[in-house]
């Protein structure tokens, strides 16, 4: 009998514990559901606004909308319009709508350049009139890391190309350093040969003159002929010298053209490149944290150069 009584008491305790557990679980679930409702803004009064953007990049449903850094609402709708533009709907808490003036604009900003994108409502100068519900506000984008990276790339690519051009110019067998050195060497050899010839010829002329002077009285005619021969040889020799000098000048000019002026500041450029490469390397891992943009849409423009109204 006592055994049965004990069993009934145990069964009653288990039943009570199970009931308590079920009540607590049900209450927890209800609290969670209520919290989700509050979080999703289903129980608050809101005012709707909209704006039109050229692309849905960095804009998503549920994204925070802020005023002066405080979250006041969220993006309720993002849709593609017929003309390819993106229509975006916003829900702002009714009690915060007093800050949304009729000339307010919406700016897409990134927290600390690489953080999550947020939409900031920037109130306009005229505080006397508020924006009506469903009003369409102006929209603009602040430059983020992507734009910054592109800017760096635009600066960096021309420098790399310059470096490539310099390297190619220097390595060129014909016009580069090897060719230039070979030509200078050849020219130097030619000059040496020329000078040696000149010396020999001058010596020869000198010797002939001495001999002729000794016979001057005897044969003035012979002296005239010798001088005439020297006169004939000398201009040719001078011409050749001039040709060699011209050649050297040409080589120098070519070297000046083919080696870009940036070479003069080679060390500065190298330092800059090193800095840029270092910076790019450091920021590289961050790129994996940036969301991919959507397909781009260009605004329709059937007359990009304004040629329809070409003056006659």
């Amino acid at each position: 009998m006592s055994l049965l009584t004990q069993y009934d008491a145990d069964a009653g305790a288990v039943k009570r514990a199970t009931r308590r557990f079920l009540i607590v679980a049900a209450l927890t679930t209800l609290t969670l559901v209520a919290a989700i409702f509050v979080r999703q803004g289903l129980l608050r009064q809101t005012v709707n606004y909209s704006f039109v953007a050229d692309s849905a990049q960095d804009i998503a449903k549920g994204q925070a909308v802020r005023i002066a850094g405080f979250r006041v609402g969220s993006v309720s709708e993002v849709s593609l319009r017929e003309d390819g533009a993106v229509a975006v709907g916003l829900e702002v808490d009714a009690d915060q709508a007093r800050f949304v003036t009729h000339d307010a604009r919406i700016e897409l900003r990134k927290e600390g350049l690489v953080g999550s994108p947020t939409l900031e409502i920037v109130p306009g100068a005229d505080k006397t009139r508020l924006a009506a519900a469903q009003a369409r506000l102006a929209f603009s984008r602040a430059d983020g890391l992507g734009a910054l990276a592109n800017q760096v790339r635009d600066e960096f690519v021309p420098i790399l190309k310059d470096i490539k051009a310099i390297t190619a110019a220097l390595a060129d067998q014909q016009k580069g350093l090897p060719g230039t050195l070979a030509q200078i060497r050849a020219s130097s050899e030619a000059l040496n040969v020329l000078l040696a010839n000149g010396n020999r010829q001058v010596e020869g002329i000198g010797g002939t003159a001495v001999r002729l002077l000794g016979q001057a009285e005897k044969n003035l005619k012979h002296l005239d002929q010798t001088l005439e021969a020297a006169n004939q040889r000398l201009p040719r020799m001078l011409d050749r010298t001039q040709q060699v000098l011209d050649h050297v000048e040409k080589i120098t000019a070519e070297a000046e053209v083919s080696v870009p002026p940036v070479l003069r500041d080679g060390s500065a450029v190298a330092a800059e490149v090193r800095e840029i490469v270092g910076g790019a390397r450091q920021t590289w891992p961050i790129s994996s944290m940036v969301d991919a943009p959507g397909p781009a849409t260009l605004k329709p423009d059937s007359d990009p150069r304004g040629e329809a109204g070409r003056a006659r």
Binding site: S55, P300, G306, A308, G309
Partner: protein, 286 residues
């Protein structure tokens, strides 16, 4: 016990209410980034860099066998080449696109633009005629189609038809008062009115185009708008000879100044010739 597990599962499910974030494959992401950068350059008017980006994006999309992305970027590329004044290159590119692509209307409109720029008016008309039935009465590109039809009619000497098409485009663009296409429609309407011997109407339309183009800061279009304003004043020379000539010369001079500042040699030449033609090389002070 079963009820308890169900409750636990319900709690877990409610906690995981948010949708999982989609992750793009790295190569697709890279291609989209290049495309997006090209679009940004295009909007800024930096067409040379935009062209390079779109070329690269088209190559990247081709590399991952993404036909839609490739096609989209080749169309962007054609538009950029048109903006650069390289209509022949744009036409060559458009010729290589498949005829029955999902974006054939856009391709036909671009082809029409390229042919107009090359002075091949009859062929431009054919391209636009092919686009008309595909576009129907409510396609998104209808305003652009109307503007191009107006330009074709104008180039063909049919000023009245050009006016009608331009008016229709403006009607369709009634909700887009500050867009580029609205300015384009006003500009072609101004040229059509001028050709239809209506200088006051042309002047009003050209000023409307100028107001939008100035707001959008588009130098080439602003310069051409000024030339058009000069033409409109010049067209009314008979009525008020000296005043109109002064106004025309001021407008041409403004066009010339903008063209010189932007290095637009063709417009500079046109403005200089127009100034010479009205014999007003020295502009009276305002």
């Amino acid at each position: 016990m079963r009820v308890e597990w169900v409750l636990v599962a319900a709690i877990a499910a409610s906690a995981c209410g948010s949708a999982p974030k989609s992750v793009e494959p790295p190569r697709l992401k890279a291609a989209l980034e290049v495309e997006s950068d090209g679009a940004r350059r295009y909007q800024r008017g930096d067409f040379v860099l935009a062209e390079r980006r779109f070329e690269e994006a088209a190559r990247r999309f081709a590399g991952i066998d993404d036909e839609a992305g490739g096609l989209r970027n080749r169309l962007h590329l054609a538009r950029t080449r048109l903006a650069l004044g390289r209509a022949d290159a744009a036409l060559e590119l458009l010729g290589s696109l498949p005829a029955d692509s999902p974006r054939d209307i856009e391709a036909l409109l671009l082809k029409g633009q390229a042919l107009l720029a090359l002075g091949r008016v009859a062929e431009a008309g054919q391209a636009l005629a092919a686009a008309e039935p595909r576009c129907g009465k409510d396609c998104g590109q209808l305003p652009s189609l109307k503007i191009l039809l107006a330009r074709t009619a104008l180039a063909d000497g049919r000023a009245t038809a050009a006016r009608l098409h331009a008016d229709a485009a403006l009607e369709l663009l009634a909700n887009d008062e500050h867009g580029q296409e609205t300015a384009n429609a006003w500009r072609v309407l101004a040229a059509a009115r001028l050709a239809d011997l209506d200088p006051p109407g042309a002047l009003a339309a050209a000023k409307a185009a100028l107001a939008i183009d100035r707001r959008l800061a588009l130098p080439e279009k602003i310069a051409r708008d000024w030339l058009l304003i000069g033409d409109a004043h010049r067209g009314s020379l008979r009525d008020k000879a000296f005043g109109a000539a002064v106004e025309a010369s001021r407008a041409y001079q403004r066009g010339l100044d903008i063209a010189n500042a932007e290095g637009l040699s063709e417009i500079s030449l046109t403005a200089s010739l127009a100034l010479k033609a009205i014999g007003m090389q020295k502009i009276p002070a305002e």
